[in-house]
């Protein structure tokens, strides 16, 4: 399990990467009592990929935080 931190709206979020079966997910902890957010990459028709929350209901956060996760992963390589 890999863990790292990202900055989001003046908060430092703790992100942990997991494999659930064959699926790669990221669990985001806010540290302020807000429920953890779980995000993953998914595919739209036409093979365009985007971030989404699991379960449904937090799409905007998933897209914003997902992009920050992607940037952090690229930065760490």
């Amino acid at each position: 399990m890999e863990e790292f931190e990202i900055r989001y709206n003046d908060l430092v979020l703790n992100v942990a990467e997991h494999m659930v079966g064959n699926d790669r997910i990221f669990r985001v902890l806010f540290g302020n009592g807000k429920p953890a957010l779980i995000v993953t990459r998914t595919t739209a028709p036409g093979n365009q990929t985007f971030w989404t929350s699991i379960p449904e209901g937090r799409q905007q956060e998933a897209e914003e935080i997902g992009e920050l996760i992607a940037k952090e992963i690229k930065r760490r390589k």
């Binding site: 399990m1 890999e2 659930v20 989404t52 799409q59």
Partner: protein, 268 residues
Amino acid sequence: MCYYNRQKVTRSEYIRLKQLEKAILNYDFLSRDLQVGFDYGLNAVLQRKYGVEDFDIVQMEWGFIPPYWKNREEVKKYREGFKDNQGKWVQYITLNATAEEMLLPRKMYREAALKRRCLVLSTGFFEWRHVFPPNKRTGLPTKTAVKYPYYISVKGQDYFYMAGIWQEWTDQDTGEIVKTVSVVTTEANELMTEVHNSKKRMPTILNEELAYEWMFGDLSEERITEIGKTKFPAKEMEACSIAKDFREKLEPAEPYTYEDLPAIELSL
């Protein structure tokens, strides 16, 4: 068209995300590490409803556990292997059941193959191709293979069916009940002979007609073996090389070209 989080997604993605929801409910985030390779994780499986021609989509642990393994400790021991009293190495990799052998007497898969056949949903799978580059000095093939990962899928299909057999297992220490599954394998077709060239095996992929028969049919042992040995046509499959660090990538199945990797040549 399917929608998840009010966003359009493909049908296969919708199924995957809904399955992921269920898996996460039972996921212990505190103790599980990042898993790769032989992960014995959860897979989406079509399981026949008892007595009717209908099925549920359920999650099963990939890696068949026979009922006589007593607890998780014993499961771990058999999966990871150990030396027995005579110093002989004992290990059971139960991710796959060999179609040609699963019905043989005393095989752990026999009863499941007779009574509990299922379909494992897949969007694609990974295998390694072994290439022996020429030695720079002698020109002869080197003895150590360079391994290149490939992603294999079925052309034009978001997902497809692999033949499976399942077993419910109870941990005799904790009472935990889990459904476990093994994917049936067969001799490789022309494409998989080139890709999975170390073992020349492939999962048994079934078209819709055979998938229906596999799950609902009242089959003789000969027919079970016959369907289990189905070699899905190579011309209906595609394989592309992917990055060696695909496990760490956001899109593990993204094609990756290697300059030193000879192309797969098929005469189909």
